[in-house]
Point group: C2
Chain length 292, copies 2
């Protein structure tokens, strides 16, 4: 997905939220804002929004000297989600369709996204979880998802945010595939999950976890390691979690499912849904028509 | 008032709203966005927000070739307000305190501000008018305002937006001062009122109307004509209407009252009120303490 004009004011707001979270020093805040605006005025709109976000968050880390500004937030939401985990796990297993319930919860967990909203209260997470159990979900896509995950020899599950990955764990535990690899970012960017988060929430105990070699808040293949790209190209099925992975992989020709909560108007428009919708969608692979 | 960091994402959003209103040509939209971002990255934050807006709207007019992008909007709201005028005039005159009612309506009219909100429905204007009649208003400031307008030999009333100036007319008709000069912008910028609007709504029939020599959406004295600056310095009392005039004149040492609706968080914080508040406030003139 390319970057739309509407993404630009949102970038600028994100930079401000993020730099304020990182430092109280107004001189540094101003330097970051100016550099981000300077970047924005030259940005390549054909690239996906996370390409710009990757550059901006590098600037923030560089100018503030703070390598992991969202560390406390990541820990807070890992802890919150882990506290919820036992009850949610019971809820999944007691439900009429555990895989469906787990998909719903994985979507709910995508609310923990500090790129979109720099203020997220625990009570909002709880509210979204409750709503997710009955909110509209594309049941045809769910059937396709069940079938694809059962038929795939191996799956690459691209994680999104810390805290949220506990909800991914609930889904992974229900997937009918033995060979699942979970993917985290190789370095801190916003509240995206890294290897440390995967360890904290116990994902490393149940599946193979690898990092993608990149610090982009999404999966920009050119920014990822050669090793990751090889696994991505060889795997049977990709499950891509969250907005950043949708934005960066919506044009991929891999068999992929996107699982997310549509949290901004640009994504919602691109997906043809309302802001706040629960999204489980199969990648539309364009079939070349030989006559054209 | 200086430009705050929070103004920057808002500028960028304003540019996008404004250029979309002006042209459907995405190439021009992109050029405008890039030039505005480039300007923003070098902006002098000590200047007031309208200084930046003035530059941005010049770029929009230059790159689109459209000299008055908000002309239709201005005409639409002049017409709407003129249709409301007879009933509102009756309401003012039948009220227990006509001057207070007129102040309330003048504040309500400040909702017609396309710098803040590019989508404004007629029904919202009606709702705000109704609310304004009973909403909280600083009654001490009102008493001071009554007294100051009665004691001033002459008043300079700095207008804000088209449509809104009909509400200013209601207030001017109640002011106990014979010598009132109403001020409009010398050229189109956003939906700010120009001489044409003053003529359309009949302000030119009841008071002297002058332009300030500037196309800034506020009153940046250095950007105004020498003639306007002379009148500004000589006048007994200034009534400055709307956010733009507050942002540009909040530090003036003239006797002045600001009349506006606080429509953005930055202004509200600066004024120490909530967003949506009705504001009638006397300029706080700093008295130099000779001992310091």
């Amino acid at each position: 997905m390319r970057t739309y004009f509407d993404c630009i004011p949102c970038f600028v707001r994100q930079v401000l939220d993020s730099v304020r979270l990182t430092t109280d020093d107004e001189d540094i805040q101003e330097q970051v804002m100016r550099q981000a605006l300077c970047l924005a005025c030259k940005m390549d709109l054909r690239q996906s929004p996370p390409a710009m976000a990757q550059k901006i968050h590098r600037i923030i880390r560089e100018l503030t000297g703070e390598q992991d500004p969202y560390l406390q937030i990541k820990n807070r939401f890992n802890k919150l989600a882990l506290e919820m985990y036992p009850e949610l796990k019971e809820q999944v297993e007691a439900s009429a369709d555990p895989l469906e319930t787990a998909v719903r919860l994985a979507i709910a967990g995508n609310i923990i996204d500090f790129g979109v909203d720099c203020v997220l209260e625990e009570s909002r997470v709880e509210k979204i979880i409750t709503e997710s159990l009955t909110a509209a979900l594309d049941m045809n896509a769910l059937e396709e998802f069940k079938s694809a995950t059962a038929q795939s020899k191996n799956i690459l599950y691209l994680g999104d945010n810390a805290g949220e990955i506990v909800f991914d764990r609930l889904l992974i535990e229900q997937l009918p595939c033995e060979d699942i690899t979970f993917v985290v970012k190789s370095g801190p960017v916003i509240n995206d999950a890294t290897m440390e988060d995967a360890e904290i929430v116990g994902l490393t105990d149940i599946v193979t976890v690898i990092d993608n070699g990149s610090d982009a808040p999404g999966t920009i293949l050119e920014s990822c390691s050669k090793e990751f790209r090889r696994r991505f190209s060889e795997v049977d099925l990709v499950i891509a979690k969250g907005q950043g992975n949708y934005e960066t992989l919506s044009d991929t020709d891999k068999d992929a499912f996107f699982i997310l909560r549509a949290k901004c108007p640009v994504i919602a428009r691109h997906l043809g849904c309302e802001v706040g919708s629960m999204v489980l969608v199969k990648n539309e692979i364009e079939v070349c028509n030989e006559e054209n």
